[in-house]
């Protein structure tokens, strides 16, 4: 069976929260996974402690990921779902490249 790295929804109505999990593709969303490798909170939070220099800071969303476990599971053939693919893309870019490169504004 195919291994997938996907999101598992937690939280109440209108208050989603996701665990990033490794599971068999055909198991239920809420079933116990093989492993939890991260979390994703899609509710944006407003930054606090704003001063003049960071007054226009954007609201932020939190991602937590164990990148070494993610690499391992990718290495043994786990397939990320589309949302997880997107999140992993952001994580890898923030780890290995500067934002300017990703946005095509300049070189590292």
């Amino acid at each position: 069976m195919v291994l997938r790295i996907r999101l598992a929804r937690f939280g109440n109505k209108h208050n989603p929260f996701f665990n990033i999990i490794v599971a068999q593709a055909r198991t239920a969303r809420g079933a116990k996974p093989l492993e939890v490798i991260g979390t994703y909170n899609p509710i944006p939070k407003r930054p606090t402690n704003l001063y003049n220099e960071n007054a226009d800071a954007r609201p932020y969303k939190e991602i937590a990921l164990d990148s070494s476990r993610a690499k391992y599971w990718l290495g043994v053939g786990a397939q990320p779902s589309d949302p997880v693919w997107k999140l992993m893309g952001m994580v890898s870019r923030s780890l290995f490249l500067s934002t300017r490169v990703y946005n095509g504004l300049g070189t590292a």
Binding site: F10, V36, I37, P44, N52, R58, Y60
Partner: protein, 375 residues
């Protein structure tokens, strides 16, 4: 159906029509007539009448305030306390003064423009360090709103400031009156316990030792205790290196040893200054120089600590800002191992939501209001 509601409404709302509407009522609704509302005007209650009487006689004096003075009811009694006691029946309530406009701006100038440390400004102006932080943030907000051309409620602020006690800024060269006590320390919950702790007479037992007893830490070795001349000597060491505070307990129960009040107060160096003054009454300049050096050392240590903490936070937290998105993504590297999630992956301290454990957010007594703000 009988026009029950209509007749009632017309009678209640339009009393001047009553006579006509009653005469034109159909006979079928005669049953309802007994339940009609009274149309005579309700007489004023005694208290209400007395209130208006008071407003036109004694109370008329309070109608316009005298700028710069409080306008409390207690003023009518002409008691010496009346300027600060708003409630005549509650003499224990004292209305505290607020920062005046000039003092507030002075705080901002010193902290932001002259780059003085919050600690030093707090000591100079006699304002709590937390309040200094709040003043700086609020003045900054006000400046930002001015830049954005937003309307400020200035007439309101001016009127309120005229009517409440304020702490003025001392003219240059004069000593600033303290706005509030700045070295207050809330009682630590650990000190609430009543402990019977026998100590041999040959052993010194001071605030340092008492803190250790309260946090059930073993007593200091004799040579260690002998090194501490006065509990306030510890303060400088601990401010420069907070890791000098020992720990008791293991794992989740580990906690820092309760330090003496001399260390925990907001301005421990003030104790050191006073002791220096008493020890060397004739060396004012030398004492002042030592104090300046002490403050500089502390500020440098704190600055260094803050930078280290910031660097640690930045190292741990990566951000990613997509170009065409309203949001920023904060990415935190975590480790999911047996140690961090427990043997079965369900440890309560593990990151992420847990499997097979009921979510307790709706249980009775669960506090859902956030108790702190994440930076």
């Amino acid at each position: 159906m009988a026009p029950r509601v209509q007749t009632r409404v017309s009678n209640a709302l339009l009393p001047y029509l009553t006579s006509t509407s009653i005469s034109s009522l159909p006979s079928s609704s005669s049953q309802c007539l007994s339940r009609q509302f009274s149309v005579t005007a309700a007489s004023q209650t005694k208290l209400r009448r007395q209130m208006f009487e008071w407003l036109s006689t004694d109370g008329a004096e309070l109608k316009h305030h005298i700028p710069g003075e409080t306008n409390y009811v207690t003023r009518l009694k002409d008691s010496p306390m009346s300027a600060t006691r708003p409630f005549p029946n509650n003499p224990n309530f004292v209305s505290e003064s607020v920062l005046s406009e000039e003092l507030r701006n002075e705080v901002y100038t010193r902290v932001v423009e002259e780059k003085k440390s919050v600690r030093a400004v707090s000591m100079d102006l006699g304002i709590d360090m937390k309040r200094i932080g709040a003043v700086v943030r609020l003045v900054e907000l006000e400046k930002r709103q001015r830049e954005q051309g937003k309307h400020l409620a200035l007439p309101y602020a001016r009127a309120i400031h005229e009517m409440i006690p304020t702490t003025p800024l001392a003219p240059p060269g004069e000593r600033q009156t303290y706005h509030e006590p700045i070295n207050d320390l809330p009682a630590h919950p650990l000190t609430g316990a009543q402990i019977f702790y026998p100590v041999s007479e040959s052993r010194p037992f001071n605030r340092v030792e008492a803190g250790r007893v309260f946090s059930s830490a073993p007593a200091l070795e004799h040579h260690e205790a002998a090194e501490i001349g006065h509990p306030s000597d510890l303060a400088e060491k601990i401010i420069e290196d907070p890791r000098a505070i020992g720990w008791v307990g293991k794992g989740n129960n580990a906690r820092q040893i309760l330090q003496p009040a001399d260390v925990r107060i907001p301005h421990p160096h003030m104790v050191a200054l006073e002791r220096d003054h008493i020890a060397h009454p004739n060396e004012r300049r030398a004492v002042a120089e030592r104090q300046t050096k002490r403050l500089e050392r502390q500020d440098a240590a704190e600055q260094q600590r803050r930078e280290r903490a910031q660097a640690r936070r930045e190292k741990k937290l990566q951000t990613f800002t997509p170009e065409n998105s309203r949001f920023e993504y904060r990415i935190q590297e975590t480790v999911y191992t047996k140690e961090t999630t427990g043997a079965d992956g369900r440890a309560p301290w593990a990151v992420g939501r847990r499997y097979g454990v009921p979510h307790r957010d709706r249980t009775r007594g669960e506090v859902k209001i956030p108790t702190r703000v994440e930076a």
